[in-house]
Amino acid sequence: MSASGFDVQTVARLARLELSLEEEDRLGRQFEQILAHIDQLNTLDTSDVEPTSHAIPLQNVFREDKVEIRFPDEDYLSLSPAKHKGHYEVPQIIG
């Protein structure tokens, strides 16, 4: 655990990444450096600053609520690495 609270194992689990011990070690050291650089932002007082999530103003975009078939199901399914009788196939979930 680094000073800023970054724990490689915990974050990797949240991100659904499996890291080797070597990767954990290397990335852990690199993150200490990267987060130390990022922590420089704390020198700025932003208490009265509004956050910007997008550079240009955005508004909700609506369109008519109607069913459109852009591609046949089989086109989507054809991209899947494993399928079975018109469904995506995954390892068994319920025992």
Binding site: L14, L27, P51, I56, P81, Y88
Partner: protein
């Protein structure tokens, strides 16, 4: 034949001095002879290209015209083209064949373009050197021991090595401008929202923008005109007019004001880069432009802000790669959880994992306010810096990168140093403004140097007119690497 600009090739095609088929074949010959060293292409679409070229020749013969009729282009491999592989230079998508055309591809097809193939990049557009491609790296055509730049390194190298007439790239933190600068070509990042992102594989959705990479500003204007415009398929696409960028190129530059930010000429800037950029600015003065001093005080915080926000968005965008619906899947998995983690472990390269981890961390409970929200607030300050600067100037000029193309492997072990090399390009993405990179000289070691012009939102016309004026009065853009 491959040394033409788009504009020159169009003239020759119209006058029937050359055919699109011959031109396309010449490029495939060129690719065959140089690309084993350059590494610009990931996959070629030769059969399709020759069909498209034949069709273009038929239309030309019939007297039809379109802005890019018969013009061979290369496309960065994160833009979907129906029936063609779109890998994002990642193992996780190595077998992915796009089921539809991105809006930019649809527009290019309507304009008559010919597609030579998909070009190299840093995996999922994450990187500054093209060393993060899962397949092979693109090298700098000026010196094969140096990087081509990233993440659109393949696009830049292909244009510089004359393996296409022009290419499309994408720019999230400088990924069009920096490789354009390293390879001595012209690169334009349009205003956020100017070009539809539908069909662009997302890295950081609030920052990504597709743009042209060309030999000349005139060609960039032509390509931009074709790919711009509001798109109902992209809810962030801006509903604004698309000016005729080509028609506006020859405007008088007298009286236009160029802002020189002192923060862009600070410690860490290579002396040869500084000298070439300052000479470039003097050339703008010679064209009648005035210089004014401006300040962008939050520049030093841009890299930190960018890596919080871009990585946060990347971690959410890349959560869709789970091996279920598309892409590759790990073979050895006895549970759903293991299938996810094994697939992502095997499919993603180290830089991608690094950014997913950083993004997951800054969005995680307990750290969101300290990092993500803080980043969004500093983004506001960076945006306000530009708004203040543009009260006194029409464009801001400075270097693209603090250094020319660096040696392969030089920064790979130190990601922070690699990230800091994007310090002059990142702010434009955070603020959403357009940026143009044009060649302005060579180092003593014969590596290209780029001059960056940043403009007001949706004012690409001014950037392009200045860039065109610069290129009409200099010859940096017509020097080629010996290959």
């Amino acid at each position: 034949m491959y040394r033409n600009t788009i504009t020159q090739a169009r003239e020759k095609l119209k006058k029937k001095e050359i055919s699109s088929v011959k031109l396309t074949e010449a490029f495939f010959e060129r690719i065959k002879s140089v690309d084993s060293n350059v590494g610009a292409y990931l996959h070629l679409t030769q059969d399709q290209a020759l069909e498209q070229a034949k069709e273009a020749d038929r239309k030309i013969k019939a007297g039809e015209d379109a802005p890019l009729l018969g013009i061979p282009l290369a496309i960065k491999d994160l833009i979907c083209m129906q029936g063609v592989k779109t890998t994002c230079a990642s193992r996780i998508l190595e077998n992915f064949v796009a089921p539809y055309d991105a809006t930019v591809i649809k527009k290019l097809k309507e304009a008559g373009a010919v597609f030579l193939g998909k070009v190299n990049m840093d995996e999922f557009a994450m990187g500054s050197s093209n060393e993060n491609s899962a397949f092979h790296m693109a090298r700098n055509p000026w010196d094969f021991d140096c990087v081509a730049g990233g993440s659109s390194g393949g696009s830049a190298a292909a244009v510089a090595a004359q393996e296409c007439l022009a290419a499309l790239g994408s720019d999230t933190g400088g990924s069009i401008r920096q490789p354009a600068s390293f390879c001595g070509i012209t690169g334009l990042k349009p205003t956020y929202g100017r070009v539809s992102r539908f069909g662009l594989v997302a890295f950081a959705s609030s920052l990504d923008q597709i743009g042209p990479m060309t030999r000349t500003v005139e060609d960039a204007a032509l390509l931009l005109k074709v790919i711009s415009g509001h798109d109902p398929m992209d809810s962030t696409s801006a509903d604004v007019d698309v000016p005729d960028f080509v028609a506006g190129l020859d405007r008088d530059l007298k009286g236009l004001k160029v802002g020189i930010p002192k923060e862009y000429f600070a410690e860490g800037l290579d002396s040869e880069v500084e000298e070439a950029v300052r000479r470039g600015i003097e050339q703008l003065q010679a064209l009648g432009m005035e210089t004014v001093d401006v300040s962008l005080p939050h520049t030093e915080h841009a890299v930190a802000t960018y890596y919080i926000l871009a990585c946060a968005e990347a971690s959410t965008n890349l959560s869709r790669y789970d091996g279920v619906r598309f892409g590759t899947r790990s073979r050895e998995s006895d549970s759903l959880y293991n299938m996810y983690t094994n697939t992502r472990e095997e499919g993603f390269g180290e830089e991608v994992k690094r950014r997913i981890l950083l993004g997951t961390f800054v969005l995680s409970s307990g750290y969101y306010d300290a990092y993500y929200l803080k980043g969004q607030k500093v983004r506001t300050l960076i945006k306000q810096d530009f708004e203040r600067a543009f009260e006194t100037c029409d464009v801001v000029a400075g270097p693209v990168s603090p250094v020319p193309a660096f040696k392969i492997g030089e920064k790979m072990e130190d990601p922070l140093q690699m990230y800091l090399s994007d310090i002059y390009t990142i702010s434009a993405n955070l603020a959403g403004i357009p940026g143009l990179s044009i060649p302005c000289g060579l180092t003593s070691g014969k590596l290209p140097i780029g001059l960056q012009l940043l403009g007001k939102k949706f004012d690409e016309s001014t950037l392009l007119a200045i860039g065109h004026g610069f290129q009409q009065s200099t010859d940096h853009h017509i020097s080629y690497p010996e290959l």
